[in-house]
């Protein structure tokens, strides 16, 4: 099994608050890796550090055999990590198709001069971007909504569109920040099928989630964060019974 992402002793603090205390974890290629923990445990902070939105205060990340220098998020995306956001961040006034087409920005290279002259190469590239974007919309199951404004899509479709946009960057690792938040049971089941399909097609998935049933059913391995520290990392069945995890979620039994 090859390691896709290795994070060693990641630290991040905001002023005096240590949001992440030397968190280390390893994500293998081809797995669905869950990251759980109570509210405020540092899951999203860890996410933002991995994806370059925050600068880490310590630690090393090796991604796909290369040290990951995260100066800016677009470099992380270039390296092959794509993400979605906890509060959906779509380009609200662009159509669904255009949203995914923006995701192709990184994997296309038409220059400003080329765009002005509309050279055959630029036209061909533009057509390819559109074809690929339409394919991705079909892949996540919203092919019929290509021309719909992103803000007008239903909540579940917005989540799917965000995944399509992330997949458009051709990631090796797809990082999803609470994709099932606010979804009903049917939508969650659909999402689960989609995540499994993404993994089956060769993309590793990192998942933050509160829906324990989803995590336990879907993930190959799970890490648990509590107060910025990793307290467990194993297959779901083991993590579920770990006394530290139980006490992090439910508290320590009262002793007389």
């Amino acid at each position: 099994m090859t390691v896709l992402l290795q994070a060693d002793n990641i630290a991040k603090h905001f002023g005096g608050i240590r949001a992440l205390k030397d968190v280390s974890l390893t994500i293998n290629a081809g797995e669905i890796y869950g990251l759980i923990g109570p509210n405020g445990a540092g899951k999203t902070t860890f996410f933002n550090v991995i994806t370059g939105l925050y600068q880490r205060d310590g630690g090393d990340i090796v991604f796909a055999g290369q040290p990951l220098h995260v100066e800016s998020p677009h470099e992380v995306t270039q390296a092959g990590i794509a993400r979605t956001f906890q509060n959906i961040r779509l380009f609200a006034e662009m159509s669904a198709l255009e949203n995914v087409m923006v995701g192709r920005h990184l994997r296309s290279k038409g220059s400003v001069i080329g765009a002005m002259l509309r050279t055959p190469a630029v036209r061909a590239e533009e057509a390819a971007i559109k074809t690929k974007a339409l394919e991705l919309l079909a892949y996540v199951g919203i092919a019929g909504k290509a021309e719909v404004r992103a803000a007008s899509l239903s909540y579940g479709d917005q989540r799917r569109l965000e995944i399509a946009r992330a997949l458009a960057t051709e990631p090796k690792l797809l990082a999803l920040d609470e994709p099932a938040a606010g979804m009903n049971a049917t939508e969650t089941a659909g999402l689960r099928a989609l995540i499994e399909k993404v993994r089956a097609d060769g993309t590793t998935v990192l998942l933050i989630e509160h829906d324990v049933k989803l995590i336990m059913g879907l993930c190959d391995r799970v890490a648990v964060l509590d107060y910025g520290e990793k307290i467990a990392e194993d297959v779901p069945a083991v993590v579920q019974k770990d006394p530290r995890v139980v006490s992090a979620y439910l508290g320590v039994p009262y002793e007389q």
């Binding site: 994806t51 939105l53 800016s72 998020p73 677009h74 995306t77 270039q78 794509a82 993400r83 956001f85 961040r89 779509l90 380009f91 609200a92 006034e93 662009m94 255009e98 087409m101 923006v102 995701g103 192709r104 920005h105 990184l106 994997r107 296309s108 038409g110 400003v112 765009a115 002005m116 509309r118 630029v122 590239e125 533009e126 971007i129 404004r149 803000a151 007008s152 946009r165 992330a166 458009a168 960057t169």
Partner: protein
């Protein structure tokens, strides 16, 4: 196929209309109107340039006129008796576009982290800095001739005679301006439909998500500033050759706000809207200036309100009316229209 034919017919129709327009206006209304027409074309170029920065990329720029000034002074310095240089137009315009584009990046670089009102204040300051520089660069070495400005600039065109028929230079200038304005329109339309145009809109919509999509927001924003500024530089060069005189006072804050009004009033981000905004805001104030005085004389026998202040008064009223009844602009882009309707719906439900 049918759509293609229709498109060609439409382009041909616009072409013919633009070709005969000066004769209709020149014969019917005189040369003052021809000048106004030429100015409207200059403002179209300016407004389309600002539209890239404000309309597409969503970066509020209140110092845009500085790039117009840069273009104008480059023309003035390279084609006037001031330095004794007399470069041809075709050499100066690209140079003006290039230098203005560089100034655009110069402004863009330190403001990359700013948005909204903060950006507006910094760009406002930048515009003033350029104007004050032009005002004071007459000592110790006289570069810009200071507040006196540069006079005697080479004209863009001379009056000529075709088939024994005298043609005023205003007509030739008109065709030159139309050609360049059309060029700018085509370039803007193509940029809008390119990956860069999409990246600009993405930054406007959500900068963090745009970064996460792999857009190098720094470069793409700098490109927006440079493109917008280069259009301003071209328009500035034409302005200098057209007026044959430049001085720093032509490039004040009010001019920046005027161009911004054209973009906002016409419909931010929508090319036909911006063109309409530029035409309306060039022609209407002139109309008031010409008619306000005589009309008062005819009605009351004397002028109560000075036509110049009346012009600003009516201009203000017109702006308020548009903002009240068409807040998305006269010709909004479909995207922007949806945005406003969406906001209105939310207002009802919440």
């Amino acid at each position: 196929m049918y759509a293609q034919k229709k498109k060609i017919a439409g382009v041909a129709l616009i072409g013919v209309a633009l070709a005969i327009l000066p004769f209709v206006i020149g014969m019917g209304f005189g040369n003052a109107w021809m000048r106004m027409l030429d100015f409207a074309l200059l403002y179209i170029m300016l407004a389309l340039g600002l539209n890239i920065v404000v309309g597409f990329a969503g970066l509020l720029d209140l110092g845009y006129i500085a790039f117009y000034a840069v273009g104008a002074y480059i023309y003035a310095l390279l084609a006037s008796p001031h330095f004794g240089l007399h470069w041809p137009l075709w050499a100066i315009l690209p140079l003006g576009a290039l230098v203005a584009g560089m100034f655009g990046m110069l402004l863009g670089a330190p403001t990359l982290r700013l948005r909204g009102d903060y950006l507006a204040i910094v760009t406002l300051g930048f515009g003033e800095i350029i104007r004050i520089f032009l005002n004071n660069l007459n000592a110790p070495i006289n570069i810009t001739n200071g507040p006196k400005g540069i006079a005697g600039i080479d004209p863009l065109a001379k009056n000529i005679e075709i088939f024994g028929y005298a043609l005023h230079s205003l007509y030739l200038i008109y065709y030159l301006f139309v050609a360049l304005a059309l060029l700018i329109v085509v370039v803007t339309m193509r940029l809008e439909k390119s990956r860069l145009g999409r990246a600009w809109v993405a930054i406007r919509e959500d900068e963090i998500a745009a970064k996460a999509c792999g857009i190098n927001t720094r470069n793409v924003k700098l490109l927006a500033f440079a493109m917008g500024a280069s259009f301003g530089g071209v328009a500035g060069g034409l302005f200098a050759g057209f007026q044959q005189f430049v001085s720093p006072e032509s490039f004040g804050l009010f001019e920046s706000i005027m161009v911004l009004c054209m973009v906002v009033l016409g419909g931010m981000g929508n090319i036909p809207g911006v063109i309409l905004g530029a035409v309306v805001l060039t022609v209407l104030p002139e109309l008031f200036r010409q008619w306000a005085g005589p009309m008062q004389m005819a009605l009351f026998g004397q002028t109560y309100i000075d036509p110049e202040s009346m012009r600003l008064l009516l201009f203000g009223i017109a702006l308020i009316l548009v903002m009240r009844f068409r807040p998305m602009g006269l010709l909004p882009s479909s995207r922007r229209k949806a945005e406003f309707e969406h906001a209105a719906e939310e207002g009802v439900t919440s």
